[in-house]
């Protein structure tokens, strides 16, 4: 069977390359830092004004509100800059999850007794969610 981590590697590389190197309204090094922060592999050099937004997109995008973007727009970030920031953060979060999923597949199974509550157990609010 094809290694699931490699089958789509070329597609993933092209996607990352486009987001990090295409000319845009944010410096490529800033996009790289945002992607790393959202992946969970660094990105301490993301501008503080953007860091909270990047974290929100990466951890629980459904909590993003008009007010979050309104604040950033008022602070002078253009729609294009925010589009690039959002894409880099979402892509970073996705890559981090993909990486963790693939490494879980390749590591020995954890016994059920060692697991916490089942992730699909409904939350008290009745909503699903990956939470953090």
């Amino acid at each position: 069977m094809t290694d699931p981590g490699r089958r789509y590697a070329a597609y993933t590389a092209r996607l990352v390359d486009a987001v990090l190197t295409q000319p845009g309204h944010t410096p490529p090094e800033q996009r790289r830092a945002i992607l790393a922060r959202a992946t969970g592999t660094g990105g301490e050099d993301v501008p503080p004004a953007l860091a909270a937004y990047v974290d929100k997109v990466a951890r629980h995008a459904y909590k993003v509100t008009d007010a979050d973007l309104g604040r950033l727009q008022q602070a002078g970030h253009s729609d294009d800059a925010l589009f690039e920031t959002t894409v880099a953060a979402a892509l970073g979060a996705a890559l981090g999850r993909l990486e963790r999923g693939l490494s879980a597949l390749s590591s020995p199974p954890v016994p059920l007794s060692a697991m916490g509550p089942h992730p699909l157990t409904p939350s008290p609010s009745g909503r699903g969610g990956t939470k953090d």
């Binding site: 789509y8 996607l15 486009a18 987001v19 993003v64 294009d80 589009f83 894409v87 909503r127 969610g129």
Partner: protein, 81 residues
């Protein structure tokens, strides 16, 4: 859509595609499509190629099963799709 540019400021070829989609489907174009067609060289084109390979390319899983995985994941992410 929270970013007006991604809602309204597509370039001409993408704007024509959006108009065509709207006319044929007779529905509002989903935000995800507007996002994919906004500056496609930055994100949408590579993302569509990736999605097509994963969701429609050769796989041990059927297309229906893969769509179910995607819908289920979106549900867990509380993302309407």
């Amino acid at each position: 859509m929270r970013l007006r540019a991604v809602e309204h400021r597509h370039r001409l070829p993408e704007r024509l595609k959006l108009t065509l989609i709207r006319l044929v489907s007779r529905r509002r174009v989903p935000d995800v499509v507007k996002t994919l067609l906004y500056r496609p060289e930055f994100f949408g084109r590579a993302m569509c190629e990736w999605t097509h390979a994963v969701m429609r390319g050769p796989s041990a899983w059927s297309v229906g099963e893969r769509e179910l995985f995607a819908a289920f994941t979106s549900r867990l992410n509380q993302c309407v799709f």
